[in-house]
């Protein structure tokens, strides 16, 4: 929703940057929670793929809007870190959709998502 508003003005305020961080943290967390949940429950491949594709699209939307965004000088390092993390997150979501679900790959994806989320939480401007 926010990307819709900021599409015209590409300069993010401090508060908007925090909001973008929260959006990426939320996406990483949601994917992680869903993968953990799927490990203990039966879902059809179609349903899993469909949900992951919506999450991937959400990531791609954030990624696209961040690509053209700028921030005030003190926030620039945080914005760059966010851009990198979101790109990594979107790529992970893309890989998740294309790989056949198996336990080792899933564990590795969850660990990677966890690491992305922790970095985002650490880098988020206060």
């Amino acid at each position: 929703m926010l990307p819709f508003l900021v599409a015209c003005s590409h300069s993010l305020s401090h508060e908007e940057l925090q909001s973008e961080y929260r959006a990426s943290i939320s996406l990483a967390s949601e994917t992680e929670v869903f993968l953990n949940h799927r490990a203990g429950h039966t879902y059809s491949a179609q349903s899993t793929q469909a949900h992951l594709s919506y999450l991937e699209k959400q990531g791609a939307d954030i990624d696209r809007d961040l690509a053209s965004a700028s921030a005030k000088p003190p926030d620039l390092p945080s914005l760059d870190a966010l851009k990198n993390a979101t790109r990594d997150l979107t790529q992970t979501l893309h890989d998740l959709r294309s790989q056949t679900p198996n336990a080792p790959a899933q564990t590795s994806s969850i660990a990677h998502l966890d690491s992305i989320r922790e970095h985002l939480q650490a880098d988020m401007p206060r």
Partner: protein, 411 residues
């Protein structure tokens, strides 16, 4: 049996009215951000819609006037036309969003290509409306919508914090910072608005006439409006609880329709996903039908043209062309790539802004002894109607500023 089947009208109106695409995502987001703290807005919204649905049904039966005939006679012509145009634009946007929502759920359940599904939905729903009598539409979608009860079961099985839920009845909470306070207000207004979406009362009052209700059916009117709304409220509370239980602890702000639908199946997996998904399709599909028909009802009632799903199509050509056209335009909007959730967020907030122009004339007519005779509002109806109208006006005034200040509810 007839009375029991009559309840399906209230169920479809309420489920399609406030357990629609917007409410499903909006309420889950509210739970994900504020836990159970916004429960009070669901309760207030439910009471308000029961009061006004009952009034609409009573006015329709006693005065023979559905909502837009009331708008025509009680507002000035320019204001009436503005209300008509705004309401029908909102109906169109909401219809487009709901069609998109149905396609998303079918894609989630089957994996079929979403655009193709959307095309199919855009053809099948109008076809169902075209070939079915009003009563069969309401029964099919009302009863199928009951499958959404799986959301309530899941919420209970996941052990909500009942004490925190009870504390959610108190609107006064301590919030950290201006942005959190604004978000809290935004979601309170949004939930309230989604429960009072105008097309519900347009559809309900027109449906009362379609169903050929008589004065002797007035006792059923309260039962139908309150039972359907209470059921819708129960599901809305379940969505709030699912957001609070599954998303809040993980800092997740769900932005996809698939997220709350999966949350509704969380304890059970695929089988519950199919049941809940089918219920959601019925509710969202019902909402798209309500909005398309409401657009046609509004137009024909305002200009006093023949209307009615049960009339021979030759006798109500403009009515039929309008709802068919609404489906077509809605389909084109969503096929053009506009995101259903963006559409519905705008329709909820702008719907709130014009809501007083729908609810004020209803209250005026229902309290008018000359029109209503012995079925005029009693003192309690008028006091409650006035209190809720004041709340509607306050929420209407606050809705757009809150949307701007919170960047459309972005945490």
């Amino acid at each position: 049996m007839k009375k029991l089947l009559g309840l399906t009208f209230g169920i479809m109106t309420a489920l399609g009215g406030f357990v629609d695409l917007g409410q499903i995502v909006f309420t889950t987001q509210a739970g994900a951000l504020f836990g159970y703290q916004l429960l009070w807005s669901i309760v207030v919204g439910t009471l308000a819609i029961i009061v006004y649905m009952e009034m609409c049904g009573r006015v329709a039966v006693v005065a023979g006037e559905p909502v837009f005939a009331v708008v025509r006679t009680r507002l000035s012509k320019p204001l009436g036309i503005i209300t008509l145009v705004a309401s029908n634009l909102l109906n169109l946007l909401t219809c487009a969003a709901e069609l998109g929502g149905v396609a998303i759920i079918i894609h989630l359940l089957t994996g079929w290509p979403e655009k193709l599904v959307l095309l199919g939905v855009g053809l099948i729903l109008p076809l169902i409306v075209y070939v079915s009598r009003f009563q069969w539409i309401e029964r099919t979608f009302g009863l199928s919508g009951l499958l959404m009860i799986v959301f309530a079961v899941s919420a209970v099985v996941l052990h909500p914090d009942w004490h925190a839920l009870a504390r959610g009845l108190n609107p006064y909470v301590h919030l950290a910072g201006r942005h959190q306070a604004l978000l809290y207000a935004y979601f309170a207004v949004g939930i309230f608005s989604a429960m009072l979406m105008e097309y519900e009362v347009h559809f309900y009052s027109s449906g009362a006439i379609e169903e050929d209700w008589k004065i002797k059916d007035l006792s059923e009117n309260f039962l139908v409006s309150s039972f359907g709304s209470a059921l819708g409220a129960l599901l809305t509370v379940a969505l709030l609880a699912l957001g609070a239980i599954l998303f809040l602890p993980h800092h997740i702000f769900p932005e996809q329709l698939s997220s709350p639908v999966l949350a509704g199946a969380w304890p059970y997996g695929q089988k519950a996903l199919i049941i809940g998904g089918l219920g959601t399709i019925a509710c969202i599909g019902g909402a798209s039908i309500e909005t398309a028909l409401s657009g046609a009802y509004n137009l024909c009632q305002f200009f006093n043209w023949p209307w009615g799903k049960n009339l021979p199509r030759k006798s109500a050509k403009i009515f039929t062309a309008t709802w068919l056209g609404s489906f077509l335009v809605a389909l084109i909007i969503v096929l053009a790539g506009v995101q259903p959730l963006q559409l519905v967020n705008f329709s909820i907030i702008f719907g709130m802004a014009i809501m007083p122009f729908t609810y004020y004339p209803i209250l005026r007519v229902a309290a008018d002894k000359n029109t209503m005779g012995k079925h005029v509002n009693n003192r309690i109806d008028t006091v409650l109607g006035t209190i809720f109208l004041i709340l509607i006006v306050i929420a209407a005034a606050a809705s757009i500023p809150l949307m701007v200040l919170t960047h459309i509810g972005q945490p």
